[in-house]
């Protein structure tokens, strides 16, 4: 919960694209931790692992695609601030 709030705070506060991406990664980590906590509390063994494997794979893809877009944005604008 605390991690999610910190990630949301980082997304709202920052205008730097990379820091917004890093803040979204905080929320991703907190959601994975929550899924495992819920799985442990409710007695699920494989569901949190399978869910998180897919989430981590998509997160890796998302980070690389986002960085490609950020690099192109930096080449066009010469800055990383938005808004």
């Amino acid at each position: 919960m605390i991690l999610t709030s910190i990630g949301l705070y980082g997304i709202f506060k920052s205008r730097n694209i990379i820091r917004i991406l890093l803040s979204s990664e905080i929320i991703l980590n907190s959601s994975i931790l929550f899924v495992f906590s819920a799985g442990s509390a409710l007695g699920f063994t494989y569901t949190p692992i399978l869910f998180s494997i897919f989430v981590i794979g998509m997160a890796l893809t998302e980070v690389i695609v986002a960085f490609a877009a950020i690099i192109l944005y930096y080449r066009l604008r010469g800055k990383l601030e938005v808004g």
């Binding site: 980082g10 709202f12 893809t61």
Partner: protein
């Protein structure tokens, strides 16, 4: 005379919980983005340890996977990509309403989680989890969830091609 059994898991859990919160604060408030990326690695390691401590018999495999795939690939990729931005000057402008909005959204999320948890726990009988078996996990991944697995494989292969294209471009 028997020695007293000391529970070491709880202090380690609290310690790494504090580490994760501190790393998240450094990511959000750090002046240099590169150090924020390194702090994301610390956060990933802390989360992997916390997951392993939740149920060591069942979740240790995923904890290792989290360390290898997330910390080893994603965070290192972010840190290395930041080197591409030569002479990067980061200017931050504070937004006044960021803290109250994040707090309100956090409270709403907490209320939703508590409500969903209370209804789920009362509905189920909290079954005892079976022992972890890697072959069962592989079977579920390749037989039951074959379509998402293919999607992930294609996405990662596409990402590999994209990374090569980016690296070859001036």
């Amino acid at each position: 005379m028997s020695l007293p059994i000391i529970d070491v898991e709880t202090p380690i859990f609290i310690l790494f919980g504090a580490f994760s919160v501190a790393a998240a604060l450094v990511i959000v408030n750090g002046k240099n983005v590169f150090y924020s990326a390194i702090s994301l690695g610390v956060l990933g390691i802390s989360v992997a340890v916390l997951i392993a401590l939740l149920d060591p018999a069942a979740y240790a495999v995923y904890s290792v996977l989290h360390l290898l795939l997330y910390v080893g690939a994603t965070v290192v990729f972010i840190a290395i990509s930041l080197v591409l931005f030569r002479g990067l000057q980061v200017q931050e402008y504070g937004v006044r309403w960021a803290a109250p909005i994040a707090t309100i959204m956090g409270i709403i999320l907490l209320a939703a989680i508590i409500l969903s948890f209370s209804s789920s726990i009362t509905a189920s009988n909290s079954p005892i989890p079976p022992s972890f078996n890697l072959s069962v996990l592989s079977q579920q991944l390749l037989i039951k969830y074959w379509f998402p697995t293919i999607i992930i494989i294609v996405a990662l292969a596409t990402t590999l091609v994209e990374a090569i294209t980016l690296a070859r471009r001036d």
